[in-house]
Amino acid sequence: MTAPRKKRREAFLLGNEAVVEGALAAGCTFYAGYPITPSTEIMECMAKRLPHVPDGAFIQMEDEIASMGAVIGASLAGRKAMTATSGPGFSLMQEQIGYAAMTETPLVLVNVMRGGASTGLPTSPGQGDVQQARWGAHGDHPIIVLSATDVPECVEMTVAAFNFAEKYRSPVILLLDEITAHTREKIELPEPGDFEVFSRLTPTMPPEWYKPYEETMRGVPPMPPIGSGYRFHVTGLSHDPLGFPTSRPEEVRSLTERQFRKIDRFFEDIQIVEHVDTADAEVVVIAYGCVARSARLAVKQAREAGVRAGLLVLKTLYPFPRRHVEPMLRNCRLAVVPELNMGQLSREVKRVNEGYTTVRTINRIDGQIITPSQILKEIA
């Protein structure tokens, strides 16, 4: 990788367009969706690109509910599939996020967060869907929620989202915000071989031996594409190892426990964070999405002013990266959590803090970004 190489192709892209670059680099061949500001460019760009990808298929559906249905179907048929939406559409998709989690169907859902509840502020940023991304679908279910702060990260985290979806047979939600999605920056376009790309495990045993939800070492059962000779039944009901409905307590328990265990055992792989000057920090800012960029400047300014400040950028929001956050809270005198909502991720920080240190929140819900000086004021 270090050898001199030819000049790479550069482009001045929106975060949304970078998501498409990441998806295609990860092997996505199916997109179904319904346009909604501020996520629309993902759909527009997919409509242009997918017809030129071998076996690529793009469908505009009648609404977000149907979009998720199509994505789940495509994934069961063996495709790497995704959709993108924003607030109201995300609410409509919740039921089938639960269905995908229960049936362990890999898929990627990009939710570009806008401001406010309901129709809210369609063209302004917000981060109000964090708890919904974790708990929007009913019932206990594991889920992976990622985020990105800038345009290059939109590529990287989309690839990560597909990899996690495939590795762990789980729906993965990528939470962006209007600013990250609608900021243009120069990126180097990904080329084959830039990223390690994972695809789901398929069964190797003869079809008559295959049990679709059998216990395995990793907890992630192999998944054949529909129509490849392996028979399996797909249901949102609690099911036994063969995939058929069951209400026997031990079977129900082992199903749910395995679904959680397959994520829990791999926290180290899934929980992605970035440390900026945290080693000796007595004040730590914990941020994600566009706000992390403000925090980066604020922390730099605070350092210049003589405050030992640090920044922890959370790129994985759920499973909550406790193993990174907790040690930091034990060693700092103040933690600041700025976010564009009334305090959603700060709940997790406070839960992990268990009263050890002071946790201060900065909450902004007027459709504007939290500025570096707003953060600086709290840490300096």
């Binding site: 990860a26 290059p152 120069k186 970035e274 990174h324 004021k377």
Partner: protein, 244 residues
């Protein structure tokens, strides 16, 4: 590079996840050198009404500065939910250094193609920032030292395409920015626009550049980098104090 002590992330050298943590590619690895001219944070706001092509203008300008000149550029946007007629603006931050905060704070250059935009954003200009307005659409300039050209009239009468207003203005901006080259703008136009409207737009770009050269005097002088730092620091503190 394995020795980063602060990096506690999983170390799978080639995986996307590890890369996201280790290889921070802020603003896409530009060399940041631009045209040989070093830039501290230089902030530009293009503003007007929805439908005037403000966002397209922002993309064209940003692309030219980022790819043509190699600067770090972030271009953000703000617009209302209306399809046409609402306030619309594109903000650019241009720098020789990677850019953390992507939005603008204090403007070095404000381009206003509507009365409303000129009035609302004038107060964000730095003390010696430049204001460029559409001479016909901004009837009451908020400043007597505004640079004015009738972009919309030029586009309609000289190019014959009123939709090219934004590109005429882009031509003037290309002249006024001392670190920008008109060729980079031309290349950016050719790469981004459909072929059938390319000629008209190149014409509009050249027209804007020539008119600006003829009627707006010298290009903008960049502030002394040292002086700019002091100014920025002072402003930050003022803002903090006023918020208290």
């Amino acid at each position: 590079m394995t020795g980063a002590p602060k990096d506690k992330a999983p170390a799978k050298p080639k995986s996307a996840t590890a890369k996201a943590v280790n290889g921070k590619m802020a603003n896409g690895n530009g060399n940041g050198n631009g045209n040989g001219q070093t830039l501290a944070r230089y902030e530009i706001r293009l503003s007007g009404l929805g439908g005037q092509g403000i966002l397209t203008m922002g993309k064209l300008l940003g692309q030219a500065l980022a790819i043509g000149h190699g600067y770090y550029v972030t271009q953000t946007q703000s617009y209302g939910p209306e399809a046409r007629g609402g306030a619309s603006r594109a903000d650019l931050v241009v720098s020789s250094e990677p850019i953390s905060y992507p939005k603008t704070e204090y403007l070095d250059l404000l381009v206003a193609l509507s009365q409303e935009a000129a009035a609302s954003y004038y107060s964000y200009l730095k003390p010696r920032g430049a204001l460029l307005i559409d001479a016909d659409l901004v009837r009451q300039s908020p400043s007597s030292v505004a640079l004015a050209l009738p972009f919309t009239r030029l586009a309609r009468e000289k190019v014959g395409v009123p939709q090219a207003t934004n590109v005429v203005a882009l031509g003037a901006v290309a002249y006024l920015l001392p670190f920008a080259r008109i060729e980079a703008m031309r290349k950016s136009l050719k790469e981004s626009l459909p072929e059938k409207i390319c000629d008209a737009n190149i014409k509009a770009l050249n027209l804007g550049y020539q008119e600006a050269k003829k009627r707006l005097g010298e290009p903008i002088a960049l502030p002394d980098p040292g002086e700019d730092d002091v100014q920025a620091a002072r402003m930050d503190l003022t803002e903090i104090m006023t918020e208290d």
